[in-house]
């Protein structure tokens, strides 16, 4: 297996993250992802992976997933021991 470069790793993470969050990987989105990775590689203070993942929400319109309601509102009452 060919070892992947850091740039590939970073791009892979961004793309997988976007895909998992329901963002369609269009040409524009991919180009934007490449630009983010490029900025990450250019950054000298920060690790490129940390750089891209820290900024992924700023660069893309990621919708929060709609989660189902875990439980309805509690309507508390008690159990009786009536005889």
């Amino acid at each position: 297996m060919i070892a992947r470069s850091l740039a590939e790793q970073a791009l892979s993470r961004v793309c997988h993250y976007l895909s998992a969050m329901g963002v369609e990987l269009t040409r524009e989105v991919t180009v934007q992802a490449l630009k983010l990775v490029e900025a990450g590689l250019a950054s000298e203070q920060e690790d490129p992976l940390q750089f891209v993942m820290a900024r992924v929400h700023e660069h893309f319109a990621i919708q929060k997933p709609v989660l189902p309601t875990t439980a309805p509102p509690i309507t508390r009452s008690s159990m009786g021991f009536s005889e």
């Binding site: 998992a20 309601t69 309507t75 009786g80 021991f81």
Partner: protein, 714 residues
Amino acid sequence: MRISEVIVDDVQQPITTKQQVGWKRAASIRRTLLTILVLAQSVLASSYMTAVLPYHGGNFVELGIITLFFVLFAWISVGFWMGIFGFVIRCFGGDRLSLLRRHTATELNQQPLAKTAVVMPIYHEPIHRTFSGIRAVYRSLEQTGQIDHFDFFILSDSRNPNVWLAEQAAWHQLCQELGAGEHLFYRRRTLNQHYKSGNIADFLRRWGRGYEYMIVLDADSLMGGSTLVKMVQLMQAEPRTGILQTNPTLVNARSMFARVQQFANNMYGPIFTTGLAALQLGEAVYWGHNAIIRTRAFMQHCSLKRLNGPGLFHGSILSHDFVEAALMGRAGHEVWLEPDLLQTHEESPPTLVDDLQRDKRWAKGNLQHLWVMLFEPRLRPAHRMAFLNGIMSYLASPLWLIFLLLTTIEAARLVLVPINYFPEPHSLFPLWPEWNPEWAIVLASSTLFLLFFPKLLAVIDAIRCRRVSHHGGFLRLIPSVIGEILVSSLLAPIRMLAHSRFVLESLLNLTLSWAGQNRTDETRWSAALLHQAPGTLLAGGWAAFAYWLDQMFFYWSLPVAGPLIFAAPTSVFLSRVGPGDWLKRRKFFQVQEERFGSPLLDDLNNSPHPAMSPQGRTSSPAVQAIVDPVLNQVHQAMAHDHRGGKKQKMILSLRKRCFHQGPEKLTQKELSHLVRDRASLHWLHEQAWCASPDSYWGKALQRHFQHRTEETIT
């Protein structure tokens, strides 16, 4: 609170007295008839036994034999007459007093539905089967167009974080798939007090007020939507009914053991259940699942107190269902078993080992009922009898064992001890021992008749109701019945010995380990040999002693000793799926759902959910909870915030360990603390996605990506 007040408070529409008086009078007549028949038959058989014994009950051993014989014969007589009652009632077109026969379909359909909760308490259940079952029930209910009246609650008591994280993920996936976000809920208790009944009570305290009815399902339950709707309609039409129990039939069996149980349940079930329902009428029992409950009445009257007796009779009640039915009855509500409600199913344990494991719990739970039966005030006599029936289900085994022991002593005395012709001192007349083996054969034959004649009636019932084709036609039905009788005869002594041990353990309040617990679908040879070794050695020793003692006695011992000697191969063979599938293809031990198909079963079996099954996972649920962005948010939404203090310090330290070493290096308790903390889930998720490719989380992410890519391709 007086009972009358409770009824006025709970029952909105008083039922006509005529109907209630009708079933109560019928119940009295039927139960009296059963008692007379059972007692008469048992007295007659016991007097015959007295005549068979050499000294005709003239010593303590013989008196013991006769007493035990009376109890055991009465016990099997109850089953015999129940089968006869059921057969006769079915010949006359069913019980006219049953709830379902009181109303026409049109009347029922006119009943407005009320808000109903379908609850499924789970505890470390197989996730794929459990959630596929809920999906099948949900979809079936959706097809009735009445889904808006029902809410589903998965009530988890699971302790292992990898199990409950997988449950939460499966719940989310199911909500997405079914679009059931507003009707399918998940709740996990962090403190699981009082087992299943505590779980249900916890649900009722939180949400019970919002639901008129509650339908309880087990993890392996399967019910049709139209049945659920009909149950609600029946409860609406019968406001005095507190619990309506259906008769679940076994389905989905694959191993030999499960297929034989399934066939017996489907083949003989109709006559026995009809007989049971006809005797119980409005004083039936609750079996803990596949039943509908009037929520308000249940909450008012059915809370379980802890037992305050000694040893076994102290603490939480393990088998809650019978007790809840009895409390419901005490409060003036009726409890009905309705055998004619169809599309209600459950599954058999796949192996004998699993079956006995379940019996071990049930034995303890049923024996605890002795305390309730004796000391709980104002319970209905029918419910006290139901407790006795449950207790005898397990107590009959040690009684049988003692009976065998006494007969061995009697045989040994006859051979080894010189005959005493003058047992009474100063008597002028000798007492001659008389031994009539041919009478013993007649007595044994009558016992076999009691056991097997109802099975013959069940076959006649199947022919009469044109159900023979359900079981593969006459040419396959008869070998299947013979096969079932053979297997049940092989299993009876194994169960007897195991139940005797469970009863002893329960009475001594001991928890002895039961070696070789089976965790897979098939029993391994090593586990079977270890598990069955005590019984095999005991039976081998007994048979050898019998052979040494007297050849005739040896032959009498074989029906019990033989199956115990061969218990290990029996257990292994019956656990095998291969022979079960082979017989299924050839339509032996076939049941209706296999013959005609079932949309419910098709839905259950034909919609694989890769993420729910262990095979579909590339990493543990804990790893997925951290790396998967959506799942991480699901788990965060169900987690808690911790405010600081010692616990917060501990959690911070766990976070770091989990990040550096992975969740596998944490104990179950530590992992549980960690993934219940919202901030930790969030922090670990962020850190994992920034982790170096060579680190634990970098590799975990890589596996996750590969799995997602494969999923997308497929």
